[in-house]
Each structure stands twice: as structure tokens, then as C-alpha cells.
């Protein structure tokens, strides 16, 4: 009895693992194909511009909103944790470090994993179930290059841009939080920021966001492109995209910190 259950359990695990690795393999094949066709981009230039607007411009309000609050809360909490005998300008040092290195890139990515990732999966998924992807192929289009390449490219380019915007807004938010809530003089805060500002920190955050943008858009495209099972399948894949891309982002965050810092 127990050996049967034992076998069933490991059989189940084995099947899950196999289908996971099969899916992973297919992911790398598809995304590899999408990247290999970067050279023929002139055919898909029109799509890239549209996707940059869709992924980039349309996310700016969300990014501004999130970053402003991230900056404010960082400075309020830093002030709260500070020993009384430290100069108040240290809050500025802390805010600029955490915002540039970690908080803006990470939180922007997590929020956009929901917004951008879900949009892409739902869009490509409904194209799959209504046979629009088959129709593209029947018209002799390379559907992966036509649909996936521009989205992944736009994500990889626009996430860093959004992060730069987010960085500025978060620092302003930090300044606001510091002066309004914790009554640190703006010039004190700014001098603190200036003391510990490193270009390399900002660059590191921007590089990270490129990886995040690539990961989120490529996962979302893959998930949408291979939807099965009608509109129910679209909903399921969309949910999976959000979960998968958030997990991937935090793992990547750790790996990149270990390698690049």
C-alpha cells in the first residue's frame, strides 16, 4: 500500500519535472528564435514602435505612482530607524542607495509583471484561441518574429527607461517624505544624497531592469503564444504569467546582486 503511494507520488513528481523541463526547453527555443530574427527587424519595425508605446508610455503613470510612494516610505522608515546621535542627512544617504540599487528596479518590475505581463499573455492567448496566429502563419508570416520579437525588444528597451523615470520620482518622493513627515531640511537631505551618490549604483539598477524587462516580456509572450483550451486557458495562462514572472524577477534580482555587486 505504502509503496504504491510512494511510487505514485514520485511518478507524479517525475511527470511534473519532465513537463517543466520540456516547457523550459521550448521557452529557450522560441525565445532563441525570436532573437535570431532580430536582424530582419525592418519587417517588424512597425510593431516595435507600437509595443514601445504600449509597454513604455502606457506604464508611465503606474511607475510614477509606485515610485513616489516607494521614495516617501523609504525616507520615513529610514528616519524612524535612525539613532538620534546620527546626523539627519544620513536619511538622504540611505534613500538614494536603496532606491537606485534595489527598490525602484524591483518594485517597478513586480508591478509591471502584472500590468505588462498579463496584457501580453491575454493578447497573444486570445490570438491563439481565435486562430489569428494560425492565420498569420498561413499568410507566410513568421509568427514568432512578428509577435514575440517586437514585444521582448520593447520590454528590454523600455524597462530601463521606466526605471530612470522611477528613480527620479522616487528621489523626489523621498525628499518630500523627509521634509513633510520627518521634518528634515531639504538641503540636509540633498547633501546626504549627494555624499553617497554613485553613478555605478544607478547603472546597476538600470542593467537589472533590462534583465527584468526581458524576463517578464519573454515569459508573457511564451505563455500567451502556447495557450491551449479556449478562453479558460487564456485566463489560466495569464495568472501563471504573473506568478512565474514575479518569481523569476526575485530570483534574477538575487543572482544579479551576487554577480554584479
Amino acid at each position: 500500500m505504502s509503496t504504491v503511494r510512494f511510487q505514485l507520488f514520485f511518478g507524479f513528481l517525475g511527470e511534473k519535472a519532465l513537463s517543466f523541463f520540456e516547457k523550459l526547453g521550448r521557452y529557450f527555443l522560441d525565445i532563441g528564435w525570436a532573437l535570431r530574427n532580430l536582424g530582419t527587424i525592418r519587417y517588424y519595425a512597425r510593431n516595435i514602435a507600437g509595443q514601445m508605446v504600449q509597454i513604455g508610455n502606457n506604464s508611465i503613470p503606474t511607475v510614477i505612482f509606485v515610485s513616489a510612494f516607494v521614495g516617501m516610505v523609504t525616507s520615513v522608515q529610514s528616519a524612524h530607524q535612525l539613532y538620534v546621535w546620527l546626523p539627519r542627512s544620513v536619511v538622504g544617504n540611505l534613500v538614494i542607495k536603496t532606491v537606485l540599487l534595489e527598490l525602484t528596479p524591483l518594485l517597478t518590475a513586480l508591478v509591471l509583471a502584472g500590468k505588462v505581463g498579463a496584457t501580453i499573455t491575454a493578447e497573444l492567448g486570445s490570438m491563439r484561441v481565435t486562430e489569428q496566429i494560425d492565420a498569420l502563419e498561413s499568410l507566410a508570416f513568421d509568427s514568432i518574429s512578428f509577435l514575440i520579437t517586437p514585444r521582448v525588444l520593447a520590454g528590454t528597451v523600455m524597462f530601463p527607461v521606466l526605471t530612470v523615470i522611477g528613480d527620479f520620482v522616487a528621489l523626489l518622493g523621498g525628499l518630500l517624505g523627509a521634509s513633510v513627515v520627518t521634518h528634515i531640511a531639504p538641503d540636509e537631505f540633498i547633501s546626504g544624497m549627494r555624499d553617497s551618490f554613485l553613478v555605478s549604483d544607478a547603472v546597476y539598477g538600470i542593467i537589472k531592469s533590462m534583465f527584468f524587462g526581458f524576463a517578464i516580456t519573454s515569459i508573457a509572450c511564451f505563455q500567451g503564444y502556447h495557450v491551449e483550451g479556449g478562453s479558460e486557458g487564456v485566463g489560466k495562462s495569464t495568472m501563471q504569467t504573473v506568478v512565474l514572472s514575479c518569481l523569476t524577477v526575485v530570483v534574477l534580482d538575487f543572482l544579479l546582486a551576487s554577480v554584479l555587486l
Partner: protein
Amino acid sequence: MIEIRDIWKSFDGKQVHRGLSLDIPEHETTVILGKSGGGKSILLKMIIGLILPDSGTIQVDGREVTTMAYSDLRALRRKFGFLFQGAALFDSMSVGENVALPLRYMPEQKKTDITARIREALRTVGLENTEDLMPSSLSGGMRKRVGLARAIVQTPPYVLYDEPTTGLDLGTADEINLLVNELRDRLGVTSIVVTHDVRSAFVMGNRFAVLDEGKFIAAGTADEIRTSGNEDVRKYIDSSLPMQGEAP
């Protein structure tokens, strides 16, 4: 010439095709009749390599489709127009852009030429001045006709129609029938038509093939099919018998 040989296909353990074989002669319209869920749409998709059979071969102009490299497959697909059962219009694009898509990357085409061809294709399906509408604002029958315009706009040598007249009123269906016949007679197009509309089938078809239980149980001219002694064949065409003797 399309040669389909011994095609087997199953989905999740459900056997759909059990050794299909059929020749599609050139410059003629072959009508495929068969039960709903019998695997007709799947067969059309196999012919242009959108779905692979589990076994069997499909040759188009002497070249094997099922093992073809992707770049060759794309070249082959340019010879085909394909009308999907659900029209499969791109809903992010207007009607005009949908119809223009097959022409988009043909560098030798001039821009004005393309506009004229789109207008002409839409006119032949009875949808003048609809270029700027979005697919979501069209009725089912209109979507079908836009799909048809998209399939024939580049006047390919082969056209595959999946239910071209289903859901259309008799008058519009007749116009579509005439259009298919005109493409064959004027341009020598080779067509495969999948349909449940037996009336249209006998107006359009030169040849007929009956798909039953995963196999073609009969193939031949209208008269051969009509006089078939096979009960299974007759059940697909019984409703058309009053038309016997009428010229199309």
C-alpha cells in the same frame, strides 16, 4: 496537384484520421463533405503545415509538406489562400489592413496598387467602403467575407475554404459560389472547399470527397457521388437530391 496519402492523426488518445488518402486535381474545385468533428478543418491545416499528422504524407506540387524546413514552408504558404472557419481576422487591425496583410511584404508592389487591390477584393465579396471598419464591429457573415477577401487578394494558385457560405443568406451565398467558380474558370485556381451547405457544394464542386470515420469513403464527380450505392455516402447528400439534373 495535392496528394494526400494515408494520414493518421489523434488528439489526446482520440483518433481523428484513420488513413486518409485523396488526390486534389489542379484547376478544379474539390468539395469535402463530412460530419462535424470529423477532422476536415484539421486536414486543411495539415495541407499548409500548420498541424503535423502522426503519420502519412502530403505532397504539394511534388514536394513533401510534412518534413519541409520552415523557410520552405513559408514559401509554399505564399501559394495558398486560406479562409478559416471562424474567419480569424486580426482584431487589432482594420478591415483594410487585414486584407492588405498578404500584400504587405511584397516589395514589387506599389502603394497605390495595394490600395486598388484591397478595394477590388472587398468589392468582389460585396463589402465596398468597409476598409476603415474594425472587425469587432462586423457581423459574422461580414467577417467571413472579409476573411474571404484576405484569402484571395493575392490571387494564389491554391485556395482552401473552410465553410465559405455557412451563416450567409442564400443571395450572398450564391455570390460567393459564383466568385469561387469565377476564380477557377478565369484564373485556373485549384480549390478545396469544406462545407455542410450541400446546395452550394454542388454549385461549386467539380469533384467531391466524403469523409467518414476518419477515411475518405468516396471520391469522384457529382454524378459518381449521387449514384453511389454506398449508404454512408448518400446520407451526406440526400438533402441535395431534388437538385439532380439541374445545371449549376
